[in-house]
């Protein structure tokens, strides 16, 4: 399991490529001052060695196909293989974005159809598929809010309200778009404090960014009142779609009062997360905002067929080159077509059932408390604070110990409003036996914490590497082979 760096496997003279010969063997002069003179220290390996290297690395990585992966707020559901098969069709891979519209009717149809699904699912009237990820979508959304208010002659609306339980991207995106961020606290129950909201809104309010259900997995049951407060103050309501998996096919953000929605195709719509990306973060808006969407949109008319529509009068411009992560969109559309109305609803119901199953089964186990209301949607946040106080075992220790059971840990220390948070989102694609085993493992860890806490504190024990020192990583940054070589020569690292 100790796979060397690819640079360490390099041997001079080895070749891992074949290239077609150039059309003509003319000599092309590169200006002297631009010709590369610094050594190009890339690894030299043959193809079999490269394949072995990355095969081994892959085996040192835990994915959705490896076992339960209940990383809260990330919706690590199974990624159907049919999505992948269709996404690798030559009609996806080998088309250029600037091809004449008549030669990419298939691609445009896919984007158009996907938009129709997303509109019905969210209750929005128009979508851009351009954003590359959730945060890119949020930036799109808040940029639209900014453009809208400016357009309405309200440049003073420079405050964006966010829940204190919000994903970090919410305030970060708002700030990037030039907003001042105001945090709205949560109540003991785990939902938004309406009084605080009332007193926060003003003529400076641009909007409120909210997830529903929120990051505690709790449905904001006063959502209609929240919408009323914000709208009355002249603000817009932005839906962070990260948690849509709880309500997909049952409840539409548009019906909750939201004006703008971003979705995460890589969460709710089963496209794979790729170790961090690519994702896709489409943004939908109500009719009155559609003129602000990024360009191009995808249009359809009988004569022209599908086309790229650059005629968006007040467009905020572009948040990414070209049209977005097309190969991800293909996967999402395949998923939607296979699932259909009934199964989408079933999926969110089972996701909610699974989360409540874990909630009820784990509740009452020594060391874990359950802040907020008991009824959850797609995820639940337990706190290991009692355990920490009584045994010194932290949420991080619990997470690490879970790895020893061959299971992925929950999200830890988020949301920030819960101390020692363990945020568990099982999703609908895990089996009851996996849920039972997960609860059993968490119970066993509780027993260990109270009988033999050291075993938990020093976890993991059965993984490829032992607990990784992230403090050292930040204190002495080694960020590339180049830096490593230098530090090593100077004797400053010995790993």
């Amino acid at each position: 399991w100790d796979e060397p760096l690819i640079f360490e496997l390099s041997r001079k003279g080895r070749v891992g490529y074949t290239l077609p010969r150039p059309i003509e063997d003319v000599s092309v002069e590169i200006p002297e001052k631009l010709r590369r003179k610094s050594p190009l220290n890339l690894p030299e390996l043959s193809e079999p060695e490269i394949v072995k290297h990355y095969t081994r690395l892959s085996e040192m990585n835990y994915g959705v196909d490896s076992g339960i992966y209940p990383l809260g707020s990330c919706t690590m559901k199974y990624n159907p293989k049919i999505n992948e098969e269709i996404a690798s069709h030559p009609g996806v891979a080998y088309i250029h974005p600037y091809q004449d519209e008549r030669t990419v009717q298939g691609a445009l149809k896919i984007m158009w159809e996907l938009e129709q699904w997303l509109k019905e699912i969210t209750g929005m009237d128009r979508f851009t598929l351009q954003p590359a990820a959730g945060a890119n979508g949020e930036f799109t959304g808040v940029s639209i809010i900014r453009a809208y208010h400016l357009d309405n002659g309200e440049p003073q609306r420079d405050e964006m309200l966010v829940a204190d339980s919000a994903h970090g991207t919410n305030p970060a995106s708002a700030a990037m778009a030039g907003f001042k961020v105001i945090e709205i606290p949560s109540t003991e129950e785990g939902t938004m404090d309406l009084e605080a909201l009332e007193s926060a809104v003003s003529e400076r309010t641009a909007g409120l960014m909210l997830t529903n259900p929120n990051t505690l997995g709790i449905f904001e049951d006063e959502i209609l009142e929240i919408a009323r407060i914000v709208h009355r103050a002249g603000g817009l309501l932005y839906y962070d779609g990260a948690n849509l998996n709880a309500v997909l096919g049952k409840i539409r953000p548009g019906d909750m009062g939201f004006d703008i929605v971003h979705l995460n195709l890589h969460k709710t719509f089963s496209t794979p997360h790729g170790g961090g990306g690519p994702g896709s973060g489409p943004v939908g808006v109500k009719d009155f905002l559609k003129d602000y969407l990024p360009v191009p949109l995808v249009g359809y008319d009988e004569e022209r067929g599908y086309y790229l529509d650059y005629d968006v009068p007040k467009s905020i411009g572009k948040v990414k080159e070209l049209y977005g992560n097309f190969a991800v969109m293909v996967r999402a559309l395949v998923y939607l077509k296979v699932m259909g109305r009934e199964s989408l609803k079933n999926a969110s119901e089972v996701a909610v059932l699974n989360a409540n199953y874990i909630t009820r089964k784990l509740k009452g186990t020594r060391g874990y408390s359950l802040p907020g209301k008991e009824l959850r949607k797609h995820e639940v946040v337990f706190s290991a604070e009692p355990m920490k106080k009584e045994t010194g075992v932290t949420a991080m220790d619990v997470a690490k110990r879970l790895l020893d059971f061959g299971m992925h840990a929950p999200t830890v220390y988020f949301p920030l409003i819960v101390h020692e948070a363990l945020m568990i989102e099982p999703t609908e694609t895990v089996s009851r036996e996996e849920l039972d085993a997960y609860v059993e493992a968490l119970r066993r860890i509780s027993e260990e914490a109270y009988s033999n806490p050291e075993i938990v504190k020093s976890a993991p024990h059965n993984t490829a590497v032992k607990r990784v020192d992230d403090v050292l990583a930040a204190k002495k940054p080694v960020l590339s082979w180049k830096m490593y070589r230098e530090l090593r020569e100077r004797g400053e690292v010995e790993y």
């Binding site: 399991w1 990355y54 990585n61 080159e321």
Partner: protein, 448 residues
């Protein structure tokens, strides 16, 4: 039809009962009355039916394998070696998320560390993040970063006029909130960045951006000089470079760049109608710069037993910790695209990357030579991939005629650069075949 993804659908009632609920509705009892609805969506189909339907839809796309293509302008048809595709499709890579638990994610962490390392060698800058969304957003983030580095006291950012309209638009949207002033520096007669105009504009600039080959494919001759002008004015120097150039051309870091950006998806990834991509983002090993860098970074460290291990690091810059004060809002990035590019680069090695660059230069030279027989090439100088060709007829007519002959013609630039008239960019890469170019010229002779 999606019940085959839902193991517990068969046990719904049993499980509900076990945890004390009577129905699914009870699980949604906190939802305001009337909010739960039946959706107006089609019923699901079998996998086979969807496969047939999508195969048919996709067969409506006329791919570059079916029709020779000369489209470039920021997206290029490179060949992806089969082993790269196979490796990134392994589900341990494909289906994992951000490696929050390093002990069971060493594979992805190491692969990303290797990506950072390979790009560091290529760009001559030792600190590389583990990807932005694309080249365009990487420039935009670089612009914002140079302003932060000046603590907001300078808000001007210079970019070449000969810049992709896509990138230009992204930069505009990204920097609006922070109130940046984006200034375009024109090209001179040879097509290089106009150094005199640059000097006029550079005062009080937070950063200056230039590309090693501009939007028209023209290799920029004065990269080092531009950097010196920027630095003399106290501005940060940001260099954009196509990674496929860098086997032959000097590393941006060696040419004076403080920050370098580029597009990783040109290697190891198919065009995919333009996405996903992955933006390369590299900086000097300078704490001040590193602290202001956007995006995730993987670092090497050790585990509890002192063995080498990898982990996400310097996270206090990031949104999930710093929230509104983060260096960027980016969370999900383009990790898998980045890993694919790294596998491709590791396969090429130094010799292969140089050979790839040579093949591109030579094929571009051939395309240029042949195009000059039928059209005017607006600038002298060395071209990499794109070649502008100016026609007498409206280019739309030319393009139409090419389409009729089964050729994807060039990208019309007249719309964004009216000063160039009826000019289109035609591009070559290592995938371009002589017979394609010859057929193109043949066709252009007939129609242009």
């Amino acid at each position: 039809m999606g019940r085959h993804y839902l193991p517990n659908l068969a046990h719904r009632d049993e499980m509900l009962k076990e945890i004390g609920f009577n129905s699914i509705d009870e699980l949604f009892s906190d939802v305001p009355a009337g909010m739960v609805k039946e959706f107006n969506l089609p019923e699901g189909k079998s996998e086979y039916e969807v496969f047939l339907e999508l195969s048919e839809i996709l067969s409506k796309n006329r791919t570059v394998l079916e029709m020779p293509s000369f489209l470039g302008a920021g997206t290029y048809f490179h060949y992806v070696p089969a082993h790269v595709k196979y490796l990134i499709e392994r589900s341990e890579f494909l289906t994992a998320y951000t490696p929050y638990q390093p002990e069971i994610s060493q594979g992805m962490l190491q692969a990303l560390f290797e990506y950072q390392s390979i790009m560091a060698e290529l760009y001559g800058l030792p600190v590389v993040n583990s990807s932005m969304y694309d080249w365009g957003t990487a420039i935009a983030e670089a612009a914002l970063m140079t302003v932060r580095l000046h603590r907001g006291k300078r808000k001007r950012f210079l970019v070449p006029k000969a810049l992709s309209p896509e990138k230009r638009a992204v930069i505009a949207t990204y920097t609006r909130g922070a109130g940046l002033e984006i200034v375009e520096v024109p090209w001179d007669e040879e097509g290089n960045l106009d150094l005199e105009k640059l000097k006029e504009a550079v005062g009080e600039a937070a950063g200056v951006y230039v590309e090693m080959a501009n939007f028209f494919g023209l290799v920029e001759e004065n990269v080092r000089e531009i950097g010196e002008i920027a630095h003399d004015a106290g501005a940060y120097f940001v260099v954009g470079a196509d990674p496929t150039m860098l086997g032959l051309f000097e590393a941006p870091g060696e040419l004076g760049a403080d920050i370098a950006v580029g597009e990783a998806a040109y290697l190891g990834n198919p065009m995919n109608f333009g996405g996903p991509r992955a933006g390369i983002f590299a900086v000097r090993n300078d704490k001040k710069l590193i602290r202001q860098m956007p995006g995730r970074i993987i670092g090497m460290t050790r585990d509890a037993e002192g063995r080498r291990a990898f982990v996400m690091t310097l996270q206090t810059r990031e949104q999930h910790i710093r929230r509104a004060k983060a260096t960027s809002n980016i969370c999900s990035n383009e990790a898998l695209v980045a890993v694919a590019s790294a596998i491709h680069l590791a396969s090429l090695g130094p010799r292969g990357l140089a050979e790839l660059g040579e093949a591109i230069l030579k094929n571009t030279a051939y395309l240029r030579k042949r195009l000059s027989e039928v059209a005017e090439i607006p600038f002298e100088g060395l071209y990499f991939k794109d070649v502008p060709a100016r026609f007498e007829k409206p280019y739309s007519e030319v393009h139409e005629a090419l389409l009729e002959r089964g050729i994807h013609g060039g990208y019309y630039v007249g719309k964004h650069f009216p000063e160039l008239g009826e000019t289109a960019l035609f591009a070559a890469t290592e995938t371009t075949r002589k017979e394609w170019v010859d057929a193109l010229i043949e066709a252009l002779r007939e129609v242009a």
